[in-house]
């Protein structure tokens, strides 16, 4: 009977609490995995957070951890912790579709570095989560296999592109999940689903085994129930990797600060018209509460970071994506059009039929920006504006320790509301994309509700200041 009570409360357990439960043998890793599998089986058909899970493989991993425990071996805090993986991160031996028909039957031949690191600690892969095709989208509606809905309101989107990962954590179908963030894809769905989402500093986490979208922007990061869990997972996945030459060693200074000597900047340009007044109220209220705790609030200016950041992003991201996606040629892996008569047709038809509409739109946009005669006017100009965006942040950080903004200008929107208008979809990422352009770390933490739906606050820090932004995040979490 004791065990049953435990499971009833499992949905609220953090990584550390589960770790204690395993050590005290309140439950085994297998029992824990079975609990999550049952939850997935009952809730996933409606929610569609997972694209794939394999019971046998899950139980096998959990059994291994139970053996370690019964042998009396010391286990890591992540041992036996069931987690979900966005389906653009490779897990050996199981499908990796990137939410695209072009990779529908692709089986990952190796583990991404982040997966290798987590498996080494004994964390248990539950399955692969839904995403906008090739991580291109802000609502999950562009998944080729169907939309992952928002657990708070099934008529609304879970956000994107890591909507499946955020919904899985929010609906308690995983203890934590991995996502990827190119222009807000971890933070925006975390905000929509009321969970914590960390986008680490560019280069802090290896991207070996992540299906590339825009290489100067992409980062892998955790989506969790609590800030403490995000810190634990980040600690395991970070670090330099010889297989990813853009990865860097994280040099964190030991932090000694309290709220009373912290200076937080509020960018005046970010509370713009277009932001939902109820969302604005919740975020401003949260900022007021932190001010009452002694944090000094200072208005800062990021003049290039609203309109120009999004326009810059929509040149740089598709340009890099169009070249990264050139590898889907119908020859090496993935879908190949069976009726092709010659090599040209293999390329033209495999890509036309394998890629969905949004992916093709971005490939077209990127190819346009990079094409002869337009390169200087678009791509090169965007890279120059990117320098100005970086400088905006550098100047702001001379005066403040962290910058606070809403994560998204609205709460989760209704399914279908924006899918027909690509530009209105892009605008939902107005506060998050600048951070990727500047390579900074940022975390979205739930800070209240508007229209009965979660609202997230975004905390942006200087490069490699993940600890500091998470510390600040812990405060908002307690509100």
């Amino acid at each position: 009977m004791v065990k049953i009570d435990y499971f009833m409360n499992l949905r609220n357990l953090t990584i550390k609490q589960i770790h204690q439960g395993l050590l005290k043998r309140d439950f085994s890793a297998v029992e824990l995995a079975e609990y999550f599998l049952r939850e997935i089986e009952s809730k996933n058909p409606d929610l569609f957070a997972y694209l794939f899970f394999d019971k046998q493989k899950v139980l096998l991993q959990a059994k291994q951890v139970d053996e370690w425990i019964s042998e009396g071996r010391e286990i890591s805090e992540l041992a036996g912790i069931p987690f979900a993986v966005k389906d653009n991160i490779l897990v050996e031996g199981i499908p990796c579709t990137a939410g695209s028909k072009i990779l529908e039957n692709y089986i990952a031949p190796y583990d991404a570095t982040v997966i290798k690191k987590l498996k080494r600690k004994g964390a248990v892969v539950l399955g692969k989560t839904n995403l906008d095709e090739f991580a291109m989208g802000s609502s999950n509606e562009y998944s080729a296999f169907g939309i992952c809905k928002n657990p708070y309101d099934k008529e609304r989107v879970s956000g994107g592109s890591s909507g499946g990962s955020a919904a899985a954590v929010a609906a308690n179908l995983a203890v934590f999940a991995l996502g990827s963030d190119t222009g807000g894809s971890i933070r925006q769905p975390a905000s929509f689903c009321g969970v914590v989402g960390l986008k680490p500093t560019y280069g802090a986490v290896s991207r070996f085994g992540l299906i590339a979208m825009a290489s100067s922007l992409d980062q892998i990061g955790p989506i969790t129930k609590t800030v403490e869990d995000a810190a634990l997972v980040f600690d395991v996945i970070k670090g330099k990797d010889p297989s990813d030459s853009t990865s860097l060693e994280v040099k964190e200074k030991e932090l000694e600060f309290n709220l009373s000597n912290l200076k937080a900047g509020i960018p005046k340009e970010f509370f713009i018209k277009g932001i939902d007044p109820d969302v604005e109220k919740v975020v401003k209220e949260a900022i007021k509460r932190i001010e009452e705790q002694g944090v000094k609030i200072k208005e800062v200016s990021l003049p290039h970071c609203t309109d120009y950041a999004l326009a810059t992003y929509y040149i740089i991201m598709p340009s890099e994506a169009s070249s990264n996606l050139a590898r889907y040629d119908g020859i090496r892996y993935g879908f190949s059009w069976p009726e092709a008569k010659d090599l040209q047709e293999v390329y033209f038809y495999s890509r036309a039929k394998g890629f969905g509409e949004e992916v093709r739109r971005r490939i077209m946009l990127g190819t346009f920006s990079l094409s002869s005669g337009y390169y200087d006017a678009y791509y090169l100009r965007a890279q120059k504006v990117r320098t100005l965006i970086r400088q905006d942040f550098q100047q702001a950080f001379e005066e403040v320790d962290v910058i606070l903004t809403p994560t998204s200008p609205t709460v989760a929107f209704k399914i279908g509301e924006r899918a027909k208008d690509p530009l209105s979809m892009y605008l939902s990422d107005i506060f998050v994309t600048a951070v990727n352009l500047a390579g900074l770390p940022a975390v979205s933490v739930p800070c209240g509700k508007a229209h009965q739906l979660p609202v997230g606050i975004q905390i942006i820090g200087e490069p490699f200041q993940e600890k500091k932004i998470l510390k600040v995040g812990e405060f908002f979490e307690k509100l």
């Binding site: 010889p242 993935g334 739109r361 346009f368």
Partner: protein, 99 residues
């Protein structure tokens, strides 16, 4: 703005087959997005260097040595190809025989 002719040309460069209905649709949609990104023309960037990497990092180099992959991995990678023969990936002919 982008013209239908330009869309056709870009689709060809991107190796995407497109029927004329799609060409129309993409012309409309891409025009809206391109008009939006035109905003950047307002910014004076004459003295600004471009950013291709968010941080100033030095080149990362390594010894140019051979690293062998496990034969099982090689086999799996070949297996992923849609058309194969023995340990090779099969492609359509790229040369034509002239008689």
């Amino acid at each position: 703005m982008i013209t239908k002719e330009e869309v056709k040309h870009i689709a060809k460069l991107a190796r995407l087959h497109m029927d004329s209905e799609e060409e129309e649709k993409f012309t409309k949609e891409l025009s809206v997005i391109i008009d939006y990104i035109e905003k950047l023309k307002e910014v004076d960037v004459s003295a600004i260097p471009p950013t291709s990497h968010p941080f100033e990092v030095e080149n990362i180099v390594r010894e140019d040595t051979e690293e062998k992959s496990k034969p099982e991995l090689v086999a799996k990678l070949i297996q992923a190809a849609p058309a194969r023969e023995k340990a090779y990936i099969k492609v359509k002919p790229i040369l034509k025989w002239s008689k």
